[in-house]
């Protein structure tokens, strides 16, 4: 169910897509945070000749999508719930770079909500493209809704 918390998401939920303009600041601040000194994340240098973002920033796209679709758990706004979410799997395929200045469109859905060893997981599927339809990244993600050492909820 959209509109509430991440723990309320269900199999088949389709997120309302989001749009934003990728800025030079976003590319650089993320690359800096992970100590990646590749210059193409900081300025317009060859071979791209335009500033690009680290491909792992698809994870921030997931956060943006959740921020817009889970209104009672807006983690970018520091609005949390009792349980921390534990990321379990990242799976990204890069189709083209995302350039600073481009309008980015992020869509996605919950492929499955399931239990394994007494723990609840969400399987997300995201698609990131430019406003004019160029595919940037396709992404699958599995996240544990709450951690407990014994796996008993």
């Amino acid at each position: 169910m959209l509109g509430k918390t991440i723990a309320d998401l269900e199999t088949g939920d389709v997120f309302n897509p989001i749009r934003y303009t990728l800025t030079p600041f976003m590319c650089a601040v993320y690359a800096h945070a992970v100590e990646d000194t590749s210059e193409w994340y900081y300025s317009a240098v060859p071979p791209f000749n335009r500033q690009v973002r680290p491909p792992t920033m698809v994870h921030s796209d997931k956060m943006r999508l959740l921020e817009a679709n889970c209104l009672e758990e807006r983690r970018i706004s520091n609005q949390h719930t009792k349980d921390a979410r534990i990321h379990y799997e990242y799976n990204a395929v890069h189709h083209s770079p995302a350039y600073a200045g481009e309008e980015i469109v992020v869509s996605g859905r919950i492929v499955e909500r399931y239990q394994k060893r007494g723990r609840d997981y969400l399987h997300y599927e995201l698609r990131v493209e430019t406003a004019d339809g160029r595919l940037i990244t396709t992404y699958n993600d599995r996240t544990l809704l709450a951690y407990n050492p014994e796996g008993k909820n």
């Binding site: 993320y30 945070a33 990242y90 890069h94 951690y147 050492p149």
Partner: protein, 159 residues
């Protein structure tokens, strides 16, 4: 500085069985706080302070059933992603893929090394080469904390 000696000038020169890696570094509290700043700032478009969560706050992590604060899994994924682009160049951003699973918690201050081994090399008719790799992050005892696989099709020697 992420010094490492496994980078080759010629991106076509890697062979199956060869290892790639980055320098060993700990996920210090300063690093996980910087990652929090970077992630939230990139996701919002404005500079944000670090958040207090299971990655930055030991006490809060314990309330969630963890022994202590753990590094964000995406932090390890990012080091592996950097390892790929450092070794295989900009084609990784265009024709690359990375899958990671966080199989053990990565506690702060434990020395961690991002590593990989080339498991496949295919030459295509257009002259490009597709590499497949097993990748992982391990601690100073050799225990794998994050595991996965990656691929890239390299089309030029530019980096």
């Amino acid at each position: 500085m992420r010094t490492h000696s496994t980078v080759k000038d010629d991106v076509f020169a890697y062979e199956v069985g060869e290892e790639v890696r980055l320098a060993t570094r700990p996920f210090s509290i300063e690093r996980v706080q910087e990652y929090s700043i970077g992630l939230m700032s990139a996701a919002s478009g404005e500079r944000k302070p670090p958040q207090y969560n299971i990655h930055t706050d030991h006490d809060y992590a314990r309330t969630q059933g963890l022994e202590a604060a753990i590094a964000d899994g995406m932090h390890s994924t990012n080091w592996l992603s950097t390892m790929m682009s450092d070794h295989f160049g900009p084609d990784y951003l265009v024709n690359g893929a990375l899958r990671t699973k966080y199989i053990k918690p990565t506690f702060l201050d434990v020395p961690v090394t991002a590593r990989g081994v080339i498991t496949g090399k295919e030459k295509n008719d257009d002259g490009s080469v597709r590499y497949a790799l097993e990748v992982w992050c391990e601690d100073d005892k050799g225990t794998k904390l994050t595991v996965g696989d990656a691929s890239v099709t390299v089309t030029s020697e530019s980096r």
